[in-house]
């Protein structure tokens, strides 16, 4: 799976799981401020990402994920994309 595919699948997930506006989902978009996802929502998103991509994101690593791009980075690193 290449980075573009990860990005596109993540975008689909954000729309379906969190009901976000697709237009607003850019790599620099911050979950809590730009996308108005509350802190628990970010936790739920990370769990959905784990299930979607079959990866495990440890709690310490999860703390560093604040934007859509950072989420893609973490998944890409784990999948070696």
């Amino acid at each position: 799976m290449d980075r573009a595919e990860i990005e596109s699948r993540l975008k689909t997930l954000l729309v379906s799981e969190l009901g976000l506006d697709e237009e607003k989902i850019t790599p620099d978009a911050k979950f809590e401020t730009d996308l108005e996802v509350d802190s628990l929502g970010v936790v739920e998103l990370l769990m959905a990402i784990e299930d979607e991509f079959g990866v495990t994101i440890p709690d310490e690593e999860a703390e560093g994920i604040g934007t859509v791009g950072q989420a893609v980075d973490v998944v890409a690193a784990k999948l070696g994309a």
Partner: protein, 246 residues
């Protein structure tokens, strides 16, 4: 009327846990009976649930061990479905006056009575959050509210689960998950069997109802908090002690 859900009762093979497992099964839920060493007793509970028309499984785990807790939740999810009702009941006492209490006795009680609640609740939230529904009930103790000589370790852990539950209740309330504590007083179980008759009589005399409670009387309170009817009760400590030291 009642929706059958999937429940896990830790320490479900004996005493209060056993009664809770049977109560939840009676209410139509599929129940995983958690145990550490009492396999035969856990299987008996499952048999009893089944002969009454219910369903359930026995599941072994050390609830103080992070990996075993994850494995337990995975096994229950695979066999019954994602856990929707968690009852943190597993607990031990190891009484000693504080002046004579070694760190091992402290750690043992805190790990089994408190760390286990953190581990199991955290794991349960994974599926409850996405389901937008969940019931978490932790068994506390009046010792955690009033204190008890010889039980500083136990009372500390039981008080801690109250602060823990109230905090988590605030974190996950927006997702339809309630988090409560049931705090029993004196109950007829193995845990109180070893008290001398004099101590038991004095204890019973301090209760308005004049007697120890039964495990079933604790279980019915848990069954209620785990139900749909209790949907607006969260962060609460329900004391079930027969009117102790009123």
């Amino acid at each position: 009327m009642t929706v059958g859900r999937v429940a896990l009762v830790t320490g479900g093979s004996r005493g209060i846990g056993r009664a809770i497992a049977l109560e939840l099964a009676k209410r139509g839920h599929a129940v995983a009976v958690g145990y550490l060493s009492s396999e035969a007793a856990a299987l008996e509970v499952v048999d009893e649930m089944k002969s009454a028309g219910g369903s359930g499984i026995a599941i072994r785990a050390d609830v103080g061990d992070p990996e075993e807790v994850v494995a337990m939740f995975q096994t229950v999810a695979a066999r019954l479905g994602p856990i929707e009702i968690l009852v943190n009941n597993a607990g031990i006492r190891h009484d000693r006056l504080l002046a004579r209490m070694g760190i091992d006795v402290w750690d043992e009680v805190v790990t089994t009575n408190l760390t286990s609640v953190y581990l199991c609740t955290k794991q349960a939230l994974r599926t409850m959050l996405r389901a937008r529904w969940g019931r978490i009930v932790t068994i506390g103790s009046v010792a955690g509210i009033s204190g008890n000589a010889g039980q500083s370790n136990y009372a500390a852990a039981k008080a801690a689960v109250i602060g823990f539950s109230k905090s988590v209740a605030k974190e996950v309330g927006s997702r339809g998950i309630t988090v409560n504590v049931v705090a029993p007083g004196f109950v007829e179980t193995d845990m109180t069997d070893d008290l001398s008759d004099d101590v038991k009589a004095a204890a019973a005399a301090s209760v308005a109802l004049g007697r120890f409670g039964t495990p079933a009387e604790i279980a019915s309170a848990v069954g209620y908090l785990a139900s749909d009817e209790a949907s607006y009760i969260s962060g609460h400590v329900l004391v079930v002690d027969g009117g102790l030291a009123l």
